[in-house]
Amino acid sequence: MKSGIINKTIYDVDKIRKDFPILESMIHGKPLCYLDNAATTQKPKSVIDSDVNYYTHLNANIHRGVHFLSEAATKAYEDARTKIQKFINASSEKEIIFTKGTTESINLVAQTLGRSILKEGDEIIISTMEHHSNIVPWQLIASEKKAKIKVIPITDNGDLILDEYKKLLSQRTKIVSIVYVSNSLGTINDVETIISLAHEQNVPVLLDAAQAVNHLPVDVQKLDCDFLAFSGHKLYGPTGIGVLYGKSHYLELMPPYQGGGDMISKVTFKETTFNTIPYKFEAGTSNIAGTIGLGVAMDYVNAIGIDNIAAYEHELLEYATEELLKISGLRIIGQSDHKCSLISFILNNIHPHDVGTFLDFEGIAIRTGHHCTQPLMDRFGVPATSRASFSLYNTKQEVDILAAGIKKVIEVFK
Protein backbone atom coordinates (compact mmCIF):
# COMPACT_ATOMS: atom_id res chain seq x y z
CA MET A 1 0.00 0.00 0.00
CA LYS A 2 1.75 3.19 -1.08
CA SER A 3 1.17 6.54 0.51
CA GLY A 4 0.37 8.25 -2.78
CA ILE A 5 -3.08 6.76 -3.04
CA ILE A 6 -4.52 8.36 0.10
CA ASN A 7 -7.47 10.47 -0.78
CA LYS A 8 -6.63 13.60 1.25
CA THR A 9 -10.09 15.01 0.80
CA ILE A 10 -11.57 12.00 2.59
CA TYR A 11 -8.81 11.36 5.13
CA ASP A 12 -9.02 14.17 7.64
CA VAL A 13 -7.22 12.91 10.75
CA ASP A 14 -8.18 15.95 12.85
CA LYS A 15 -11.81 15.27 12.14
CA ILE A 16 -11.33 11.55 12.87
CA ARG A 17 -9.70 12.31 16.23
CA LYS A 18 -12.80 14.25 17.27
CA ASP A 19 -14.80 11.03 16.95
CA PHE A 20 -12.80 9.46 19.83
CA PRO A 21 -13.65 11.18 23.13
CA ILE A 22 -10.80 9.54 25.08
CA LEU A 23 -8.19 11.20 22.86
CA GLU A 24 -8.94 14.49 24.64
CA SER A 25 -7.63 13.07 27.94
CA MET A 26 -4.70 14.54 29.82
CA ILE A 27 -2.29 12.00 31.37
CA HIS A 28 0.18 13.26 34.03
CA GLY A 29 -0.59 16.76 32.75
CA LYS A 30 0.21 15.92 29.11
CA PRO A 31 -2.18 15.24 26.22
CA LEU A 32 -2.71 11.50 25.79
CA CYS A 33 -0.54 10.06 23.01
CA TYR A 34 -2.10 6.63 22.62
CA LEU A 35 0.29 4.25 20.86
CA ASP A 36 -0.90 0.94 22.31
CA ASN A 37 -3.40 0.12 19.58
CA ALA A 38 -2.15 -3.42 19.07
CA ALA A 39 -3.31 -4.13 22.63
CA THR A 40 -6.67 -2.48 22.09
CA THR A 41 -7.96 0.42 20.01
CA GLN A 42 -9.99 3.30 21.37
CA LYS A 43 -13.71 3.52 20.60
CA PRO A 44 -15.48 6.11 18.47
CA LYS A 45 -18.44 7.89 20.04
CA SER A 46 -20.85 5.98 17.79
CA VAL A 47 -19.74 2.68 19.37
CA ILE A 48 -20.00 4.10 22.90
CA ASP A 49 -23.45 5.51 22.10
CA SER A 50 -24.55 2.17 20.69
CA ASP A 51 -23.99 0.55 24.09
CA VAL A 52 -26.00 3.20 25.90
CA ASN A 53 -28.72 3.06 23.25
CA TYR A 54 -28.99 -0.71 23.49
CA TYR A 55 -29.47 -0.75 27.24
CA THR A 56 -31.72 2.32 27.14
CA HIS A 57 -34.05 1.34 24.31
CA LEU A 58 -33.47 -2.21 23.09
CA ASN A 59 -32.48 -4.55 25.91
CA ALA A 60 -34.14 -7.97 25.67
CA ASN A 61 -32.96 -11.53 25.14
CA ILE A 62 -32.67 -12.63 21.54
CA HIS A 63 -33.98 -15.53 19.41
CA ARG A 64 -36.62 -16.51 21.97
CA GLY A 65 -39.10 -13.78 22.71
CA VAL A 66 -42.18 -12.95 20.70
CA HIS A 67 -42.43 -9.49 22.17
CA PHE A 68 -41.42 -6.25 20.46
CA LEU A 69 -38.11 -5.69 22.26
CA SER A 70 -36.90 -9.24 21.75
CA GLU A 71 -37.59 -9.04 18.06
CA ALA A 72 -35.89 -5.66 17.78
CA ALA A 73 -32.81 -6.89 19.70
CA THR A 74 -32.67 -10.06 17.57
CA LYS A 75 -32.77 -7.99 14.40
CA ALA A 76 -30.00 -5.67 15.59
CA TYR A 77 -27.89 -8.68 16.61
CA GLU A 78 -28.37 -10.49 13.29
CA ASP A 79 -27.81 -7.26 11.34
CA ALA A 80 -24.39 -7.09 12.98
CA ARG A 81 -23.67 -10.62 11.74
CA THR A 82 -24.50 -9.54 8.21
CA LYS A 83 -22.26 -6.46 8.51
CA ILE A 84 -19.36 -8.69 9.57
CA GLN A 85 -20.06 -11.17 6.79
CA LYS A 86 -19.81 -8.33 4.30
CA PHE A 87 -16.76 -6.82 6.00
CA ILE A 88 -14.69 -9.98 5.46
CA ASN A 89 -16.66 -11.05 2.36
CA ALA A 90 -17.81 -14.42 3.70
CA SER A 91 -20.18 -16.22 1.33
CA SER A 92 -22.90 -16.58 3.96
CA GLU A 93 -23.77 -15.10 7.36
CA LYS A 94 -24.02 -18.70 8.61
CA GLU A 95 -20.24 -18.77 8.52
CA ILE A 96 -19.95 -16.00 11.13
CA ILE A 97 -19.83 -17.25 14.73
CA PHE A 98 -19.73 -14.81 17.62
CA THR A 99 -17.23 -15.56 20.37
CA LYS A 100 -15.58 -13.66 23.24
CA GLY A 101 -12.58 -12.86 21.08
CA THR A 102 -9.72 -14.28 19.03
CA THR A 103 -8.60 -16.54 21.88
CA GLU A 104 -11.99 -18.18 22.21
CA SER A 105 -12.29 -18.50 18.43
CA ILE A 106 -9.02 -20.44 18.25
CA ASN A 107 -9.92 -22.58 21.27
CA LEU A 108 -13.25 -23.38 19.62
CA VAL A 109 -11.53 -24.77 16.53
CA ALA A 110 -8.90 -26.64 18.56
CA GLN A 111 -11.52 -28.24 20.81
CA THR A 112 -14.00 -29.16 18.06
CA LEU A 113 -12.19 -29.70 14.77
CA GLY A 114 -8.93 -30.60 16.54
CA ARG A 115 -10.64 -33.05 18.86
CA SER A 116 -12.48 -34.80 16.02
CA ILE A 117 -9.64 -35.17 13.51
CA LEU A 118 -6.36 -35.43 15.48
CA LYS A 119 -4.85 -38.84 16.15
CA GLU A 120 -1.63 -40.00 17.75
CA GLY A 121 1.40 -38.86 15.71
CA ASP A 122 -0.54 -36.22 13.75
CA GLU A 123 0.95 -32.76 13.42
CA ILE A 124 -0.23 -29.17 13.78
CA ILE A 125 1.85 -26.45 12.13
CA ILE A 126 2.18 -23.03 13.75
CA SER A 127 5.04 -20.47 13.59
CA THR A 128 7.69 -18.88 15.81
CA MET A 129 5.82 -15.57 15.84
CA GLU A 130 2.52 -16.85 17.28
CA HIS A 131 0.76 -15.14 20.16
CA HIS A 132 0.32 -17.48 23.16
CA SER A 133 -3.34 -17.73 22.14
CA ASN A 134 -2.32 -19.55 18.96
CA ILE A 135 0.12 -21.84 20.80
CA VAL A 136 -1.49 -22.96 24.04
CA PRO A 137 -4.90 -24.11 22.66
CA TRP A 138 -2.99 -26.40 20.25
CA GLN A 139 -0.69 -27.66 23.00
CA LEU A 140 -3.72 -28.59 25.11
CA ILE A 141 -5.37 -30.66 22.39
CA ALA A 142 -2.05 -32.04 21.12
CA SER A 143 -1.12 -33.40 24.53
CA GLU A 144 -4.56 -34.99 24.87
CA LYS A 145 -4.36 -36.60 21.42
CA LYS A 146 -0.60 -37.33 21.51
CA ALA A 147 -0.23 -35.10 18.45
CA LYS A 148 2.82 -32.93 17.76
CA ILE A 149 3.31 -29.23 17.17
CA LYS A 150 5.67 -28.17 14.40
CA VAL A 151 6.97 -24.62 14.26
CA ILE A 152 7.87 -22.61 11.12
CA PRO A 153 11.12 -20.71 11.84
CA ILE A 154 11.68 -17.05 10.96
CA THR A 155 14.52 -14.93 9.60
CA ASP A 156 16.34 -12.22 11.59
CA ASN A 157 14.16 -9.66 9.81
CA GLY A 158 11.06 -11.37 11.13
CA ASP A 159 9.80 -13.16 8.02
CA LEU A 160 8.54 -16.74 7.96
CA ILE A 161 10.90 -19.12 6.14
CA LEU A 162 8.50 -20.66 3.64
CA ASP A 163 11.00 -23.25 2.42
CA GLU A 164 11.06 -24.65 5.96
CA TYR A 165 7.26 -24.60 6.00
CA LYS A 166 7.21 -26.70 2.81
CA LYS A 167 9.47 -29.24 4.52
CA LEU A 168 7.19 -29.40 7.57
CA LEU A 169 4.04 -30.09 5.51
CA SER A 170 3.43 -33.82 5.24
CA GLN A 171 0.82 -36.58 5.37
CA ARG A 172 0.87 -36.16 9.15
CA THR A 173 -0.12 -32.46 8.99
CA LYS A 174 -3.76 -32.08 9.99
CA ILE A 175 -4.09 -28.36 10.75
CA VAL A 176 -2.10 -25.21 9.94
CA SER A 177 -2.76 -22.28 12.27
CA ILE A 178 -0.87 -19.08 11.49
CA VAL A 179 -0.88 -15.46 12.52
CA TYR A 180 -1.78 -13.12 9.63
CA VAL A 181 -0.06 -10.04 11.12
CA SER A 182 2.41 -10.43 14.00
CA ASN A 183 1.46 -8.47 17.13
CA SER A 184 5.13 -8.25 18.19
CA LEU A 185 6.93 -7.66 14.89
CA GLY A 186 4.27 -6.19 12.64
CA THR A 187 5.14 -8.66 9.87
CA ILE A 188 2.31 -9.25 7.38
CA ASN A 189 2.73 -12.91 6.49
CA ASP A 190 2.35 -14.31 2.99
CA VAL A 191 -0.77 -16.20 4.01
CA GLU A 192 -1.93 -16.78 0.42
CA THR A 193 1.10 -18.99 -0.21
CA ILE A 194 0.74 -20.71 3.16
CA ILE A 195 -2.90 -21.51 2.43
CA SER A 196 -2.38 -22.76 -1.12
CA LEU A 197 0.49 -25.03 -0.05
CA ALA A 198 -1.62 -26.49 2.77
CA HIS A 199 -4.57 -26.99 0.43
CA GLU A 200 -2.39 -29.03 -1.93
CA GLN A 201 -2.31 -31.55 0.94
CA ASN A 202 -5.99 -30.99 1.83
CA VAL A 203 -5.01 -29.43 5.16
CA PRO A 204 -7.30 -26.72 6.60
CA VAL A 205 -5.77 -23.37 7.58
CA LEU A 206 -6.80 -21.09 10.43
CA LEU A 207 -5.67 -17.46 10.31
CA ASP A 208 -5.26 -15.49 13.53
CA ALA A 209 -6.33 -12.14 12.09
CA ALA A 210 -6.52 -10.19 15.36
CA GLN A 211 -3.93 -7.67 14.10
CA ALA A 212 -4.98 -7.86 10.44
CA VAL A 213 -8.64 -6.89 10.12
CA ASN A 214 -8.05 -3.37 11.46
CA HIS A 215 -5.11 -2.67 9.15
CA LEU A 216 -5.82 -4.45 5.85
CA PRO A 217 -8.73 -5.30 3.61
CA VAL A 218 -9.50 -8.96 4.41
CA ASP A 219 -11.48 -11.08 1.94
CA VAL A 220 -11.88 -14.65 3.21
CA GLN A 221 -13.03 -15.98 -0.17
CA LYS A 222 -10.06 -14.50 -1.97
CA LEU A 223 -7.67 -15.74 0.73
CA ASP A 224 -9.45 -19.11 0.70
CA CYS A 225 -8.66 -19.60 4.41
CA ASP A 226 -10.78 -22.22 6.15
CA PHE A 227 -11.04 -20.31 9.44
CA LEU A 228 -10.36 -16.74 10.43
CA ALA A 229 -10.36 -15.45 14.01
CA PHE A 230 -10.43 -11.86 15.25
CA SER A 231 -11.48 -9.65 18.15
CA GLY A 232 -13.85 -6.71 18.13
CA HIS A 233 -11.88 -4.57 20.56
CA LYS A 234 -8.86 -4.25 18.26
CA LEU A 235 -11.23 -3.08 15.54
CA TYR A 236 -12.69 -0.06 17.40
CA GLY A 237 -15.47 -2.23 18.85
CA PRO A 238 -16.23 -3.29 22.43
CA THR A 239 -14.25 -5.84 24.46
CA GLY A 240 -15.66 -9.32 25.00
CA ILE A 241 -16.88 -9.83 21.43
CA GLY A 242 -15.00 -11.63 18.70
CA VAL A 243 -15.58 -13.55 15.52
CA LEU A 244 -14.80 -16.94 14.13
CA TYR A 245 -15.30 -17.28 10.42
CA GLY A 246 -15.38 -20.89 9.19
CA LYS A 247 -16.20 -22.46 5.84
CA SER A 248 -19.65 -23.93 6.21
CA HIS A 249 -18.67 -27.48 5.26
CA TYR A 250 -16.21 -27.59 8.17
CA LEU A 251 -18.68 -25.97 10.57
CA GLU A 252 -21.34 -28.53 9.63
CA LEU A 253 -18.96 -31.40 10.41
CA MET A 254 -17.62 -29.99 13.67
CA PRO A 255 -19.25 -31.01 16.97
CA PRO A 256 -20.59 -28.22 19.21
CA TYR A 257 -18.13 -26.34 21.43
CA GLN A 258 -20.31 -25.74 24.48
CA GLY A 259 -23.73 -27.06 25.35
CA GLY A 260 -26.65 -24.95 26.57
CA GLY A 261 -29.51 -22.82 25.40
CA ASP A 262 -29.76 -21.40 21.86
CA MET A 263 -27.42 -24.07 20.41
CA ILE A 264 -30.12 -26.77 20.39
CA SER A 265 -33.25 -27.42 18.38
CA LYS A 266 -34.74 -30.19 20.54
CA VAL A 267 -33.78 -31.49 23.97
CA THR A 268 -35.07 -34.56 25.80
CA PHE A 269 -33.34 -36.44 28.61
CA LYS A 270 -32.50 -39.13 26.09
CA GLU A 271 -30.95 -37.01 23.40
CA THR A 272 -30.46 -33.55 22.00
CA THR A 273 -30.59 -32.32 18.44
CA PHE A 274 -28.31 -29.39 17.79
CA ASN A 275 -29.28 -26.15 16.14
CA THR A 276 -28.01 -25.29 12.66
CA ILE A 277 -24.86 -23.26 12.09
CA PRO A 278 -23.88 -20.69 13.29
CA TYR A 279 -26.16 -21.11 16.33
CA LYS A 280 -24.76 -24.57 17.10
CA PHE A 281 -21.64 -22.75 18.32
CA GLU A 282 -23.36 -19.97 20.26
CA ALA A 283 -24.52 -21.53 23.52
CA GLY A 284 -26.11 -19.28 26.13
CA THR A 285 -27.06 -15.63 25.98
CA SER A 286 -24.31 -13.93 24.04
CA ASN A 287 -22.80 -10.47 24.32
CA ILE A 288 -25.70 -8.82 22.52
CA ALA A 289 -24.75 -5.19 23.22
CA GLY A 290 -21.13 -5.92 22.26
CA THR A 291 -22.15 -7.61 19.02
CA ILE A 292 -24.32 -4.67 18.00
CA GLY A 293 -21.46 -2.34 18.98
CA LEU A 294 -19.08 -4.29 16.76
CA GLY A 295 -21.49 -3.80 13.87
CA VAL A 296 -21.41 -0.06 14.53
CA ALA A 297 -17.59 -0.18 14.58
CA MET A 298 -17.72 -1.86 11.13
CA ASP A 299 -19.91 1.02 9.90
CA TYR A 300 -17.33 3.46 11.24
CA VAL A 301 -14.41 1.73 9.51
CA ASN A 302 -16.38 1.36 6.27
CA ALA A 303 -17.24 5.06 6.24
CA ILE A 304 -13.52 5.95 6.25
CA GLY A 305 -12.60 2.99 4.04
CA ILE A 306 -10.15 0.26 5.04
CA ASP A 307 -7.99 1.03 1.98
CA ASN A 308 -7.67 4.66 3.07
CA ILE A 309 -6.84 3.54 6.62
CA ALA A 310 -4.19 1.11 5.35
CA ALA A 311 -2.57 3.77 3.18
CA TYR A 312 -2.61 6.37 5.97
CA GLU A 313 -1.17 3.95 8.53
CA HIS A 314 1.53 2.89 6.09
CA GLU A 315 2.59 6.52 5.77
CA LEU A 316 2.75 6.75 9.59
CA LEU A 317 4.82 3.55 9.77
CA GLU A 318 7.34 4.83 7.25
CA TYR A 319 7.67 8.14 9.06
CA ALA A 320 7.97 6.51 12.50
CA THR A 321 10.55 3.97 11.29
CA GLU A 322 12.65 6.75 9.80
CA GLU A 323 12.44 8.93 12.92
CA LEU A 324 13.14 6.13 15.42
CA LEU A 325 16.10 4.80 13.46
CA LYS A 326 17.71 8.25 13.83
CA ILE A 327 18.00 7.59 17.58
CA SER A 328 21.39 6.13 18.39
CA GLY A 329 21.23 2.96 20.49
CA LEU A 330 17.72 2.08 19.27
CA ARG A 331 17.22 -1.23 17.48
CA ILE A 332 13.98 -2.23 15.76
CA ILE A 333 12.94 -5.86 16.26
CA GLY A 334 11.00 -6.88 13.16
CA GLN A 335 12.19 -5.33 9.92
CA SER A 336 10.17 -7.16 7.31
CA ASP A 337 9.42 -5.38 4.03
CA HIS A 338 5.76 -6.19 4.65
CA LYS A 339 4.69 -4.64 7.92
CA CYS A 340 1.64 -3.08 9.45
CA SER A 341 1.91 0.04 11.57
CA LEU A 342 3.71 -1.15 14.66
CA ILE A 343 7.30 -0.86 15.81
CA SER A 344 8.93 -3.04 18.45
CA PHE A 345 12.23 -1.66 19.67
CA ILE A 346 14.92 -2.06 22.29
CA LEU A 347 17.35 0.51 23.65
CA ASN A 348 20.95 -0.23 24.64
CA ASN A 349 21.13 -0.99 28.38
CA ILE A 350 17.66 0.38 29.14
CA HIS A 351 14.94 -2.09 30.02
CA PRO A 352 11.57 -1.68 28.25
CA HIS A 353 9.75 -1.35 31.58
CA ASP A 354 11.79 1.71 32.47
CA VAL A 355 11.09 3.12 29.00
CA GLY A 356 7.36 2.49 29.49
CA THR A 357 7.24 4.22 32.88
CA PHE A 358 9.16 7.28 31.65
CA LEU A 359 7.05 7.62 28.49
CA ASP A 360 3.89 7.34 30.59
CA PHE A 361 4.90 10.57 32.29
CA GLU A 362 5.04 12.19 28.85
CA GLY A 363 1.44 11.10 28.29
CA ILE A 364 2.59 8.34 25.92
CA ALA A 365 0.97 4.92 26.20
CA ILE A 366 3.05 2.11 24.71
CA ARG A 367 3.24 -1.59 25.55
CA THR A 368 6.35 -3.04 27.16
CA GLY A 369 7.01 -6.70 27.85
CA HIS A 370 6.92 -9.94 25.89
CA HIS A 371 3.57 -9.18 24.20
CA CYS A 372 2.36 -12.73 24.90
CA THR A 373 4.99 -14.04 22.47
CA GLN A 374 7.65 -15.50 24.76
CA PRO A 375 9.02 -18.03 22.22
CA LEU A 376 9.51 -15.13 19.79
CA MET A 377 11.39 -13.10 22.42
CA ASP A 378 13.63 -16.15 22.98
CA ARG A 379 14.23 -16.31 19.20
CA PHE A 380 15.56 -12.74 19.27
CA GLY A 381 17.38 -13.27 22.57
CA VAL A 382 15.60 -10.43 24.37
CA PRO A 383 13.41 -10.67 27.51
CA ALA A 384 11.08 -7.94 26.31
CA THR A 385 10.64 -5.05 23.87
CA SER A 386 8.89 -1.70 23.82
CA ARG A 387 6.14 -1.54 21.22
CA ALA A 388 4.51 1.50 19.69
CA SER A 389 1.50 0.61 17.56
CA PHE A 390 -0.28 3.15 15.39
CA SER A 391 -3.86 3.43 14.36
CA LEU A 392 -6.15 5.45 12.10
CA TYR A 393 -6.27 8.40 14.53
CA ASN A 394 -2.53 8.73 15.25
CA THR A 395 -0.50 11.56 13.74
CA LYS A 396 3.06 12.38 12.72
CA GLN A 397 3.13 14.88 15.59
CA GLU A 398 2.60 11.93 17.94
CA VAL A 399 5.53 10.12 16.34
CA ASP A 400 7.61 13.22 17.12
CA ILE A 401 6.38 13.18 20.74
CA LEU A 402 7.40 9.52 20.98
CA ALA A 403 10.86 10.15 19.52
CA ALA A 404 11.43 13.10 21.87
CA GLY A 405 10.25 10.97 24.83
CA ILE A 406 12.68 8.17 23.97
CA LYS A 407 15.55 10.66 23.73
CA LYS A 408 14.67 11.95 27.21
CA VAL A 409 14.77 8.41 28.65
CA ILE A 410 18.19 7.81 27.07
CA GLU A 411 19.42 11.08 28.64
CA VAL A 412 18.34 9.99 32.16
CA PHE A 413 20.02 6.59 31.89
CA LYS A 414 23.24 7.93 30.34
Partner: protein, 151 residues
Protein backbone atom coordinates in the same frame (compact mmCIF):
# COMPACT_ATOMS: atom_id res chain seq x y z
CA UNK B 1 11.59 15.25 35.55
CA UNK B 2 8.23 14.84 37.28
CA UNK B 3 8.63 14.61 41.08
CA UNK B 4 6.79 11.27 41.37
CA UNK B 5 9.05 9.85 38.67
CA UNK B 6 12.13 11.30 40.39
CA UNK B 7 11.04 9.60 43.62
CA UNK B 8 10.92 6.26 41.78
CA UNK B 9 14.17 6.67 39.87
CA UNK B 10 16.37 8.17 42.57
CA UNK B 11 20.02 8.73 41.75
CA UNK B 12 21.01 5.79 43.99
CA UNK B 13 18.76 3.50 41.94
CA UNK B 14 20.11 4.78 38.62
CA UNK B 15 23.62 4.30 39.97
CA UNK B 16 23.05 0.72 41.14
CA UNK B 17 21.36 -0.06 37.82
CA UNK B 18 24.39 1.18 35.94
CA UNK B 19 27.00 -0.44 38.21
CA UNK B 20 25.30 -3.23 40.12
CA UNK B 21 27.19 -4.48 43.22
CA UNK B 22 27.87 -8.19 43.76
CA UNK B 23 26.88 -8.98 40.18
CA UNK B 24 28.52 -12.39 39.77
CA UNK B 25 28.07 -16.07 40.38
CA UNK B 26 29.35 -17.42 43.72
CA UNK B 27 30.94 -20.76 42.94
CA UNK B 28 30.88 -21.79 46.61
CA UNK B 29 27.23 -20.84 47.22
CA UNK B 30 25.39 -23.31 49.45
CA UNK B 31 22.00 -21.70 48.81
CA UNK B 32 20.72 -20.48 45.47
CA UNK B 33 17.48 -19.96 43.58
CA UNK B 34 16.19 -18.65 40.26
CA UNK B 35 13.49 -15.99 40.29
CA UNK B 36 11.21 -15.34 37.35
CA UNK B 37 8.60 -12.72 36.69
CA UNK B 38 6.24 -14.17 34.08
CA UNK B 39 4.62 -10.78 33.53
CA UNK B 40 7.73 -9.20 32.09
CA UNK B 41 10.04 -12.15 31.45
CA UNK B 42 12.67 -10.94 33.94
CA UNK B 43 14.97 -13.57 35.42
CA UNK B 44 17.34 -13.39 38.37
CA UNK B 45 19.67 -15.85 40.09
CA UNK B 46 20.57 -15.33 43.74
CA UNK B 47 23.62 -17.03 45.31
CA UNK B 48 24.29 -17.19 49.06
CA UNK B 49 27.08 -18.52 51.23
CA UNK B 50 25.59 -19.09 54.67
CA UNK B 51 27.77 -20.21 57.60
CA UNK B 52 26.54 -20.67 61.17
CA UNK B 53 23.26 -19.06 60.14
CA UNK B 54 25.02 -15.90 58.93
CA UNK B 55 25.02 -14.64 55.34
CA UNK B 56 28.76 -14.57 54.67
CA UNK B 57 28.41 -13.71 51.00
CA UNK B 58 25.60 -13.01 48.58
CA UNK B 59 25.46 -12.18 44.87
CA UNK B 60 23.09 -12.05 41.90
CA UNK B 61 22.93 -12.32 38.13
CA UNK B 62 20.16 -11.81 35.62
CA UNK B 63 18.27 -9.36 33.45
CA UNK B 64 15.68 -6.87 34.51
CA UNK B 65 14.61 -3.25 34.64
CA UNK B 66 16.43 -0.56 36.62
CA UNK B 67 14.15 -1.04 39.61
CA UNK B 68 14.68 -4.80 39.81
CA UNK B 69 18.43 -4.60 39.18
CA UNK B 70 19.00 -1.82 41.72
CA UNK B 71 16.84 -3.65 44.23
CA UNK B 72 18.91 -6.84 43.83
CA UNK B 73 22.15 -4.86 44.07
CA UNK B 74 21.11 -3.00 47.23
CA UNK B 75 19.72 -6.18 48.76
CA UNK B 76 23.05 -7.98 48.42
CA UNK B 77 24.75 -4.93 49.91
CA UNK B 78 22.35 -4.89 52.90
CA UNK B 79 22.26 -8.59 53.69
CA UNK B 80 25.95 -9.36 53.98
CA UNK B 81 26.68 -10.21 57.62
CA UNK B 82 23.03 -10.54 58.63
CA UNK B 83 21.55 -13.70 60.17
CA UNK B 84 18.99 -15.63 58.16
CA UNK B 85 16.29 -14.42 60.55
CA UNK B 86 17.36 -10.79 60.14
CA UNK B 87 17.35 -11.20 56.36
CA UNK B 88 13.78 -12.52 56.42
CA UNK B 89 12.66 -9.72 58.76
CA UNK B 90 14.17 -7.10 56.50
CA UNK B 91 12.29 -8.63 53.53
CA UNK B 92 8.99 -8.21 55.38
CA UNK B 93 9.79 -4.61 56.23
CA UNK B 94 10.95 -3.88 52.66
CA UNK B 95 7.80 -5.42 51.24
CA UNK B 96 5.67 -3.29 53.57
CA UNK B 97 7.59 -0.22 52.39
CA UNK B 98 7.03 -0.78 48.66
CA UNK B 99 3.38 -1.76 49.05
CA UNK B 100 2.67 1.34 51.15
CA UNK B 101 1.85 -0.58 54.33
CA UNK B 102 4.23 1.51 56.42
CA UNK B 103 2.04 4.60 55.99
CA UNK B 104 3.07 8.07 54.87
CA UNK B 105 5.83 8.80 57.37
CA UNK B 106 7.44 5.47 58.12
CA UNK B 107 10.45 5.05 60.37
CA UNK B 108 13.12 4.09 57.88
CA UNK B 109 16.05 3.57 60.24
CA UNK B 110 16.16 -0.19 59.92
CA UNK B 111 15.78 0.00 56.17
CA UNK B 112 18.88 2.11 55.70
CA UNK B 113 19.64 2.59 52.00
CA UNK B 114 16.54 0.59 51.06
CA UNK B 115 14.51 3.71 51.86
CA UNK B 116 15.18 4.87 48.28
CA UNK B 117 12.50 2.40 47.19
CA UNK B 118 9.73 4.29 49.04
CA UNK B 119 8.61 5.77 45.69
CA UNK B 120 7.65 2.33 44.36
CA UNK B 121 4.39 2.38 46.33
CA UNK B 122 3.01 4.96 43.88
CA UNK B 123 3.60 2.49 41.01
CA UNK B 124 1.68 -0.73 41.76
CA UNK B 125 2.80 -2.26 38.44
CA UNK B 126 6.43 -1.97 39.56
CA UNK B 127 6.12 -3.64 43.00
CA UNK B 128 6.96 -6.99 41.40
CA UNK B 129 10.13 -5.52 39.89
CA UNK B 130 11.34 -4.23 43.25
CA UNK B 131 10.52 -7.43 45.13
CA UNK B 132 11.74 -10.09 42.67
CA UNK B 133 15.26 -10.33 44.15
CA UNK B 134 13.88 -10.53 47.70
CA UNK B 135 11.38 -13.26 46.86
CA UNK B 136 14.19 -15.19 45.20
CA UNK B 137 16.48 -14.75 48.22
CA UNK B 138 13.64 -15.96 50.47
CA UNK B 139 13.09 -19.02 48.30
CA UNK B 140 16.85 -19.76 48.23
CA UNK B 141 17.10 -19.66 52.03
CA UNK B 142 14.09 -21.94 52.38
CA UNK B 143 15.47 -24.57 50.03
CA UNK B 144 17.51 -27.50 51.13
CA UNK B 145 21.15 -26.65 51.59
CA UNK B 146 23.17 -27.43 48.49
CA UNK B 147 25.95 -29.93 48.87
CA UNK B 148 28.99 -28.20 47.44
CA UNK B 149 30.91 -30.54 45.26
CA UNK B 150 34.66 -30.32 45.58
CA UNK B 151 35.32 -31.91 42.24
Amino acid sequence: MDSELRDLYQQVILDHNKSPRNYKKLENANFEAEGYNPLCGDRIDIFLVVENDIVKDISFQGSGCAISKASASLMTHMLKGKTKKEAEELFVKFHDLITGKLGDNPSLDELGKLAVFAGVKEFPARVKCASLAWHTMHSALNKEEKIISTE
